[in-house]
Amino acid sequence: MLHTLTRVVTFIILAFSVYLFFAGHNNPGGGFIGGLMTASALLLMYLSFDMKTIKKALPFDYTAIIAIGLLIAIATGVSSMLFGYPFLTQFFEYYQLPILGETELTTALPFDLGVYLVVVAIALIIILTIAEDDA
């Protein structure tokens, strides 16, 4: 029962978190909230299944994800410097994309992605580390 429910609910929560993440620029949401939401979905999985199974399913090193997230955020900031603008200058432009139609693409998005990754990773690291600690 729990397993079945978790499978459904996790999917919904993950989808919602992705929505929150992408909607951040124009509606409530963003990297931070999306990250926390994703983390809570994953936590739910950890709660309903045992550690080993999830570790097999999600073979991520969360410490590395923190680093990747930070790197993405910093790289976004540095990239503006390459064009002679100050650190962390953001740009945006409207493009016609297939399927999505006219879409705004902004450099704030990769920055938010960095935030997202870091938040997911830290929430999971902190809770899993304390939970796994059996000393």
Binding site: G30, G69, G77, F92, A108, V118, I122, I130
Partner: protein
């Protein structure tokens, strides 16, 4: 850099070479290399005698820190030259003596001579410097070198105690002296003694005159072992005897005398200067001579005798400063005291140096300095006996030695001072001759004790550790013999010194009161006729002899058995009291309990902010801009307050965690009400995660402590927390009201208008977070990452050793 500059720092340069000489030229006693320097310097300085006795001065400047007015200026006049000759002359003799005194095989000679040279250079610097700051630098170097020399045998506890004591006392004085020097700079705008004396009006009319004088005198008194700072000197006797002879009788202890003499033109003529110097001098004189009688150790007797003689010189400098008052002029009645001071300064250096050396010889040859063990050395050590006799007779003030002359002049000085009609001397002046006479009697007594106990009576070889007691080697005897013969020569022909050394020194101490062609009247005669001074001396001899003969009677007194100066009690207790007191004060506040520190912080915050609010009358409340409050807001607030108030009374941790969670969710509701959806979302999620974490932490609490706890009620804590809450509320209200009053425009308008155009987003919060103020976000994310890694490090890396954590 002139030759004089090089001469001043030459001992330091040689000191650098000493360890190499010691290491690579082992067969030769290192002292021989050292001996050359003071000898050369002595001969070099003698060449200046004709120049200074002609009344000329020499001044060379080398800039050091010119922007601060600190220059290495050497200034050579009569007073400097007198001290230079003392330092180098006695320095030569002491080094010669130390070559025979300290064994090449057992002693670390490199240390000894490095320290000694350092001291010699520092002392030359003190007496040659015209700049107060440079003088201070050299002054502290003498303190340092002196402490190093006292603790030369550093494995002995008494040596380190004595070194620490002398360091503490002299550096205490030195620092206060630095304060005085700085005040002088404030008054005159220069550190140069020469210029200060030239602008003496600026000093005497200033309000800082008295503070500067007191601070500088503190330095001079501590260095010169004046009452009550004399207690370091007897403990400094743990130093090797050459050091005692050099530092603690002839040179360093006279640095204070030098300073007083040097600054007499600045401060002399003031009643405070006159009284402080005279009173402290005469008290030191009496105290030292009376204490010396009690001592059983040869060097202790000499130490207290040094204290007493320094008091005598100080007292004379004080009495003599009266001649600067209202330009009383050059009449001998005023200047005799200065003359006596300078003369006694020379005499004391000669006889005290020789006495220390003979005491060292006795110690070296018999293995003890205790007068209860010594006796009958007259025939065994005839040369030492002769030199000691001369020195002691001179110290006691017997004719025909130089001590007699200076004592006569001392009596003349104090008798003259009773005739002064300034500073209330008519009423209180009579005390000076009386006290001086009493001190002289005791001086006579301890000289007799020292002489008769050491050299006469029965030889007691059974009390001595040394098997064959015999006369010292000739090398060790040369220096005391030279000094002893100087005592005789100066005693028989005192006028050798009169216009070569004494008169120029007096001219330096009392400048500007001589006419262009005037000279001080310096003629020293043995025979003045039957004047009061002679009768006083006869009285001293008579009464002193009587007291010595009745020694059996008064030696039983309890006070006689006590050797240590009672003032040490104050020093020891204040030192240990300082330590325990500061520990006590530290323990009061540093309890190691975090709750106490938190109380300090809160109380400090309350006091600081409360006082600021009160002081600037900053409380304000703004009723105009208050908006209406919806009913559901009231409900939220009441639930919020209820949940908050309940927490301290909850007895179970798990309940408390849940209530904290409730507060968090209520906060999220507040955000919803105040139209902050991003905040509300974040708050909800964070609160959830936090509660999970709390639960985890609760689960991990150790078994033993798992009993439900009951928060202790503490009225003080209650008051403090209420006060903090009230204060923060008041500040928030006032800040809001005053902010409205000031009417600054909010930056929010800019964000509202530009978030779409400049950043392409409608969610203003997010636009601010990632675009306008993206750096903050970046660093906050970094903080989160660090926190996560910190948790990993804390939990995963379980280091075993305490150091590793």
């Amino acid at each position: 850099m002139t030759v004089l500059h090089w001469a001043t720092i030459s001992p330091f340069l040689l000191a650098i070479l000493i360890p190499f000489l010691y290491k690579y030229v082992r067969p030769i006693h290192t002292g021989w290399f050292v001996l050359v320097l003071p000898l050369v310097l002595f001969i070099y300085f003698i060449q200046y005698l004709p120049i200074t006795s002609a009344g000329e001065v020499i001044e060379y400047t080398v800039p050091w820190v010119p922007s601060l007015g600190i220059n290495f200026t050497v200034y050579l006049d009569g007073l400097s030259l007198l001290f230079l000759l003392l330092i180098t002359g006695i320095g030569t003799l002491v080094i010669l003596y130390s070559i025979y005194y300290l064994s090449k095989k057992t002693e670390k000679l490199n240390n000894f001579y490095v320290y000694l040279l350092m001291f010699m250079g520092a002392m030359l610097g003190v007496v040659l410097s015209d700049n107060l700051i440079v003088l201070y630098v050299f002054w502290e170097l003498t303190s340092l070198a002196s402490s190093l020399l006292i603790s030369y045998w550093f494995h002995r506890e008494k040596s380190t105690y004595g070194a620490q004591k002398s360091m503490l006392i002299t550096v205490f004085g030195g620092l206060s002296m630095l304060g005085g020097f700085c005040l002088m700079y404030v008054m005159t705008g220069t550190f140069s003694i020469r210029e200060i004396i030239a602008n003496v009006d600026l000093v005497t009319t200033s309000a800082l005159f008295l503070p500067a004088m007191l601070l500088i005198l503190l330095g001079a008194f501590t260095k010169s072992a004046q009452f009550p700072f004399h207690i370091w000197l007897p403990d400094a006797m743990e130093a090797p005897t050459p050091v005692s002879a050099y530092l603690h009788s002839a040179t360093m202890v006279k640095a204070g005398i030098y300073l007083v003499a040097r600054l007499t033109p600045v401060f002399g003529g003031a009643a405070e200067w006159f009284w402080i110097l005279s009173i402290f001098g005469i008290v030191t004189l009496c105290w030292g001579s009376i204490s010396a009688v009690r001592q059983k150790d040869l060097k202790s007797i000499l130490a207290f005798s040094t204290i007493s003689q320094l008091g005598l010189i100080m007292c004379l400098l004080g009495l003599g400063s009266a001649s600067l008052y209202y330009g009383y002029g050059t009449e001998t009645i005023y200047t005799t005291a200065i003359l006596a001071a300078v003369f006694h300064l020379i005499n004391h250096a000669t006889f005290k140096g020789s006495l220390f050396m003979t005491a060292g010889i006795i110690d070296h040859e018999t293995g003890t300095r205790d007068i209860r063990k010594l006796g009958g050395l007259m025939t065994i050590m005839p040369v030492t006996f002769t030199v000691s006799l001369i020195g002691l007779a001179s110290m006691a003030g017997l004719p025909p030695f130089n001590g007699f002359l200076s004592k006569e002049m001392f009596f003349t000085g104090v008798l003259n001072s009773t005739e002064l009609d300034i500073f209330n001397m008519q009423t209180w002046g009579m005390l000076f001759p009386v006290l001086a006479w009493i001190a002289s009697v005791f001086t006579f007594v301890y000289c007799m004790v020292m002489f008769f106990k050491t050299f006469t009576g029965k030889f007691q070889p059974e009390k001595l550790d040394v098997k064959h007691v015999h006369e010292a080697p000739i090398g060790m005897l040369i220096s005391p013999l030279v000094l002893g013969s100087l005592v005789v020569i100066f005693g028989l022909f005192p006028n050798l010194l009169a216009y070569t050394l004494i008169e120029p020194a007096m001219a330096s101490i009392l400048p500007n009161i001589l006419g262009p062609d005037d000279r001080f009247y310096v003629n020293i005669y043995h025979w003045h006729g039957f004047n009061p001074e002679l009768w006083m001396t006869i009285g001293v001899i008579g009464v002193g002899t009587l007291i010595f003969l009745m020694m059996k009677n008064w030696a039983k007194l309890a006070i006689y058995q006590k050797e240590r100066d009672p003032l040490n009690w104050f020093y020891d207790h204040s030192l240990s009291g300082l330590i325990s007191g500061s520990q006590f004060v530290t323990r009061i506040q540093m309890t190691g309990l975090l709750r106490d520190y938190f109380v300090y912080m809160s109380v400090f915050m309350i006091l600081l902010f409360g006082y600021t609010l009160y002081r600037y009358d900053a409380f304000a409340i703004d009723t105009v801009n208050i908006t209406g409050i919806d009913p559901f807001m009231w409900i939220l607030v009441i639930v919020f307050i209820g949940a908050t108030v309940v927490i301290p009374f909850i007895n179970h941790r798990i309940t408390a965690i849940i209530v904290v969670g409730v507060i968090g969710f209520l906060l999220a509701l507040f955000f919803v009400v105040f139209r902050a959806p991003d905040l509300a979302l974040t708050q909800l999620l964070v609160e959830t995660v936090t509660v999970v974490l709390f639960m985890l932490a609760f689960y991990h609490l150790p078994e033993l402590r798992k009993e439900s706890f009951k928060p202790r009620f503490n009225i003080v804590n209650l008051i403090i927390s209420i006060a903090v809450g009230a204060l923060v509320t008041i500040i928030a209200l006032s800040a809001s009201a005053l902010g409205n009053e000031a009417g600054f425009e909010s930056i929010a308008e800019y964000f509202i208008q530009n978030s779409k155009e400049l950043a392409g987003g409608y969610n203003m919060v997010n636009v601010i977070l990632v675009d306008f103020r993206g750096l903050d976000t970046l660093l906050e994310v970094l903080v989160l990452g660090i926190a996560a890694l910190g948790v990993v490090a804390l939990i995963k890396l379980r280091m075993t050793g305490r150091e590793d954590v």
